[in-house]
Symmetry: C2
Subunit: 473 residues, 2 copies
């Protein structure tokens, strides 16, 4: 558990990532290729995300439900772009109860088709809209190259699926979801990011438009951190689903879907981590404060237990009672696990009625009088949360480059990398060529981007906006 | 939505059940045979159960985690009774990412085998035990004859899986889980039931002993409502999983697993329902209080909104604002949905600063002064909760028969049915014959049963306990 055991954070983030995920016991490889086991310390992060986001979802009036894992193949085939997009990634059940099935079943790669068939069954008129439904579930998309949390053949997510009478109402929900994701990243995970609309080639299979929240990782790669899709009437038309409006005319409902997955945990780990391991923002940290009695100090164990009893209903506290580890080993262990604050309880400090608090994010050690402990912890947790967000925002801004030549673009992509703001003609061939040349893809057109006349960075054709480019996960 | 629309509760409970599940919008049939869609009003019940039980689980120190959906076939085959029990019910993935898989994958019918393989990987010594893990997930067991909530090919559940150094510690967890289930049924779902141990032929495939909580339904059939398994060392031996104990001896860990599923919702619906529809205990009811302004009364709508605002942070309240339904239609609609209390807001009562509260469980109407409203609602909700539990307990006791002859046994099974307490020789052939003759199976040997000498009801051999028999779901 010595610090040197972790792979080099700056040299190879992906090796460090796998190393820290396994050593901090967040997850492990499953015996099935491409799947992972989310261990309790990692699952607690998902529970934290669920609890935060589910509250926002319910406040918006969206209700949770549960739809089947299996989707008959002919359902997936109803929307042509949809099946084309997902068919290479399907896991398919061909045998059930000992018999070959008459129709193969796909394990859901997303639930649009199975849900909308039911929506059609449940609705007749404008009175039955909007439908505001979300589900928390597992999803399977077969992957050749996998990566713990970031890309696994099975993952967990929530998928919201709403249907409305008008496009305007549906768009309101699309953007609400994007804001809810931004809030979750900013306020819970202390991560900064950019909201924007995806290019046609990067949008969801079956969507009219896809919106995403993009975060920059320390290696200059972008992580698409959540998406919200304006499905238009694509699915309602494919399913021949109409409802009668107030004028007794048949209309095809306007739909949207939006999702955030366990991938968010991958982003969280990378965004804040360092050479010593994980660094968790207090709002999401499964353990906010760890109390470590200094080994072989006489008064430390009893006082530590008292402190735990005092703090346990106010913070998420753990007391380290393992009895055969050195001080250094214990400190490294909890730093690896990313616990925001460590209270070091030693006899010398106790003699002056104080303890030392160590901040995981800055490494600072602060002597705190026992009388002030609760207030100080509360302040420090709030400081750490803010500091991590500010730091990630600053990093992102410092690695966002506005470029005006293709050479400059290429140079950034071979050095620091990062977000590149560049003019693009919005032609997908040109987008492909840029990807071939530089590995960068369009991440999004930021929602706050202003109209600005320019020339496409590659082909020189007219452009009206600067798009955001990056190498992506 | 008229009352007469529901199938006859007393004549055919199963027809009534399907009818009420569909009409109250708890669930619907999915396009995949044997699967169901849990609609928001039904899913809210599951969220209530999750929230109650998850708290108990966490208080016990058990942590949530997530293991893969897919289990390689050779894992399932490691424990012989286990694979024999589950193989007829498997859904099997044979194609992934467009290619035939080299080893077929079972969609988890339960997670013992995939979890214990990881447990083996994670442990070396006694320091690594106990392992206390639970997961909330979906499960697939292919069923030929299905029944909404009670038996579906896919269902939701929690499965706790713990491993310990000693059998005593493991048994402590087995019985703790059984108590947690009893508490969930009693305190949340207002259902009475019997805890006991299953006979060998009724135990879980791979368990040493299975304990269950059995509830009696209004048609005299028993519902196995949750189970907790003492797995002994069966799985650790099959997986060749040992850890070093304090004396540096290798020992096989002692294991247990325990689960409660969406089947509980089926029990809840039947246990309390009546000819008018669902009757929900307030602690689990998604809506505890519905406010219905009497149509065409002038002051009712404004006052109703005020009442909602007053009550909404204290109770789960809904205001019925639909404007083109009659009073009778509205009342029936909310009775069908099982809402415990209905507040009828009419101008005449408002003139004397009061409203009428209708109790779903008894049908009583009570005039309540607005000034006393909150206190009265709190008292009534508590009354309803207690009344429903008492009623279900009384029903169960009145339908529990201690019999001393096989004729008496058979007569009960062809008339009222119910729980039958009878001596049995504990021979499985005899158990089979009783099932053939009467359709009754052993439900359990109640934990509180006292040793009592007698003769087997069927074969006359010596018996030391009265077992609980019933026709079961």
């Amino acid at each position: 558990m010595a610090k040197s055991q972790l792979k080099d954070f700056n040299k190879d983030l992906s090796e460090w990532f796998t190393d820290v995920v396994l050593k901090a016991e967040l997850a492990d490889y499953a015996p099935v290729k491409g799947c992972m086991v989310i261990r309790p310390y990692g699952y607690a992060l998902w529970e934290g995300i669920q609890s935060f986001l589910d509250k926002l979802i319910k406040e918006k009036g969206v209700q949770n439900a549960y739809f089947p894992l299996f989707i008959p193949m002919h359902y997936l085939q109803k929307e042509k772009e949809h099946i084309a997009g997902f068919s290479p990634q399907l896991a398919i059940v061909t045998i059930g109860g000992g018999e070959k099935l008459s129709e193969n079943l796909a394990v859901r790669p997303t639930s649009e088709t199975i849900m909308y068939d039911m929506y059609k069954k449940w609705t007749n008129s404008w009175r039955d809209l909007p439908i505001l439904i979300n589900q928390w579930c597992n999803i399977v998309r077969w992957e050749k190259r996998t990566y713990l949390f970031l890309r696994t053949s099975e993952f967990l997510w929530q998928e919201g699926h709403c249907a409305h009478l008008t496009h305007e109402e549906s768009m309101n929900m699309v953007l609400w979801a994007l804001d809810a994701y931004e809030k979750t990243y900013n306020d819970l995970l202390a991560m900064y990011g950019i909201k924007g609309v995806k290019s046609d080639s990067e949008k969801f299979a079956g969507a009219g438009r896809t919106y995403s929240f993009e975060c920059l990782m320390p290696n200059g790669k972008a992580l698409q951190s959540a998406t919200s899709h304006d499905l238009g009437q694509n699915f309602s038309k494919s399913f021949d689903w109409t409802v009668q409006d107030k004028n007794k005319e048949k209309i095809f409902p306007w739909q949207n879907s939006w999702g955030l997955s366990t991938r968010a945990i991958g982003g969280l780990i990378m965004a804040h981590g360092d050479q010593n391991g994980l660094v968790f923002p207090p709002n999401i940290a499964p353990i906010q404060v760890v109390i470590v009695p200094i080994p072989n100090h006489k008064l430390a164990p009893i006082k530590s237990q008292e402190l735990k009893d005092q703090l346990k209903n106010k913070f998420r506290v753990q007391l380290d009672q393992v009895d055969d580890e050195t001080t250094g080993f214990k400190f490294n262990k909890w730093e690896l696990k990313g616990v925001p604050l460590r209270i070091e309880v030693g006899d010398r400090d106790l003699a002056s009625s104080s303890v030392i608090i160590h901040r995981r994010d800055t490494g600072e050690k602060i002597t705190v009088a026992l009388a002030d402990l609760e207030v100080k912890i509360r302040d420090l947790l709030s400081d750490v949360q803010n500091n991590l967000f500010t730091k990630h925002k600053k990093f992102t801004e410092e690695h966002t480059f506005t470029v005006s030549s293709y050479d400059e673009f290429k140079k950034i992509m071979t050095t620091t990398r990062g977000f590149i703001k560049a003019h693009w003609c919005e032609d997908s061939d040109c987008e492909n060529e840029i990807k071939k040349d530089t590995k960068a893809t369009t991440r999004c057109l930021p929602l706050d981007s202003k109209e600005e006349k320019g020339k496409c960075i590659r082909c020189g054709k007219d452009s009206h906006h600067r798009w955001l480019f990056a190498l992506s996960y």
